[in-house]
Symmetry: D2
């Protein structure tokens, strides 16, 4: 069966929540079509990135039904995804780093339940070493409540000779 | 515009990769329709859970285009989502725990690039305390290569009186 | 053989560095005699504690021969001891906490070599929850160089009924 | 005043516990006199190292009055010192590593109160990468009770050309 037929059948029996999810999935594909270097997960989670200066970057993630864990708050793994993306993106852009950076380790502290309309991750460079970049980040909701805090170590990919 | 019309228009211009993504999204909604307590993200990442005994649980995540980070390997945040889910699910099920458990902190070590056909997360209880459950987990691919390792602390939700 | 005879014999053959170590050990015992609730290790490491406000505390540790690791910089374990003490002392003193607090987990990032005349650990409360206190701390030398950074989780000891 | 006179005066007024501490300090200096590459802290904590194979090493630390924290159990910082030493020593000795290794980060989970006659730290290599060595360790007492668990990342010092 073709994908559009299968979708048509599914939509006919779909609940409001399923329609909302489909809409979200479709929008994420449209966004990714425009910004081809975006990852699927960044598009799905509707990340908006804002580099503030050389040592500071923010990513905003609006709440959506895809974020829910089994008890109706943001899934810790997706908070970790927001943090890993923000810290990693900034680590890849530190001055002198040409080839990007990969995550060595990430430690996330979950401080209060992930509730709110949107979640803003504020990432900062703690130490820009020769091969390692040490980062920290905080996630707050739109009211400023501190939801999670993280530290991460990133390895600079070597410059090819 | 109705969702099915919008989807029809999108599909007409879609690439093979976009069709694959749509198929994946649709399947995740179908799976979730059958298992209503599944989260959207667990359904999207196609988690399959297998509790081995009281202190051991495995979740398998097949590779898919949704897992890719910007350099073609599994996004660290999704490896963290797999780990948080496996460790948290097992922590919620330790003997004597009636109300579930929430993540206090999660520390993920990324050991080698996340490549492979599927990723198996093996979670274990390290210490089942009165209020805290301490966990550890390893993620391997189908060939046994060790991709990530994690420790986590979970707080048992108090039993209502 | 009596301890004073044994010490006398040892001193007769002792190097300058050994005399310096003995002097340091003796001074730590004298300090502890005056402040009986001080631990041996806090006395040996010559900790000086300064509570700044409800959410901030500093401990200063002067450099000494006892701090050296095998490559002539401060032993990471002693930097961790400084951090654990500062974070734990402050966690024990958060408003409403009557019985003290124990360390659940401590994560230390070593950022630059531990060199300098003294090391100042600045501890802060990140989140004062009902049962857990979440802390962070930074260690700098007297010139302000950032040597280590840490986060820690502490469990409030329950109030006896 | 000369160090031996000062010590004599101190001993005359000393309690049994102070004599025990002095004896411990003196013994640590004697041990260090014999093994000059030992650090002061390793000598004070009476570390005994036993390499089991290329990927496994144990350090035993007997209990002593110097280990006590303010509530009569082993100070978390000294458990961290034991772990950092064991993990770091083994990381320095992995095959192909010629120049030693420094601690990048150490995460310690405190699982149960540090009580017992001695504490055995069992360290293992998790992943021996090109520049980073990833380690884990467990601390148990002589009865096998699990007291602490840790993971650590170490950076191999570059070979001079």
């Amino acid at each position: 069966m073709e994908i559009h037929e299968e979708l048509k059948d599914f939509i006919e029996e779909s609940s409001e929540q399923e329609k909302e999810a489909l809409k979200l999935f479709l929008n994420s594909l449209k966004t990714k079509r425009e910004k081809s270097n975006l990852t699927h997960i960044a598009s799905l989670l509707q990340f908006e990135t804002n580099q503030i200066d050389d040592r500071t970057l923010e990513i905003t993630m609006p709440n959506s039904l895809i974020l829910d864990n089994s008890i109706g708050i943001v899934h810790g793994g997706l908070t970790a995804t927001l943090l890993d993306t923000a810290l990693g993106t900034l680590a890849s852009r530190v001055p002198g780093n040409k080839k990007g950076a990969v995550t060595v380790e990430l430690k996330v502290d979950f401080l209060s339940p992930g509730v709110g309309e949107k979640f803003i991750c504020h990432a900062q460079v703690v130490h820009n070493g020769r091969q390692l970049v040490r980062m920290e980040g905080k996630v707050r909701n739109e009211k400023g409540a501190l939801i999670a805090s993280a530290t991460g170590t990133f390895f600079k990919l070597p410059d090819e000779k």
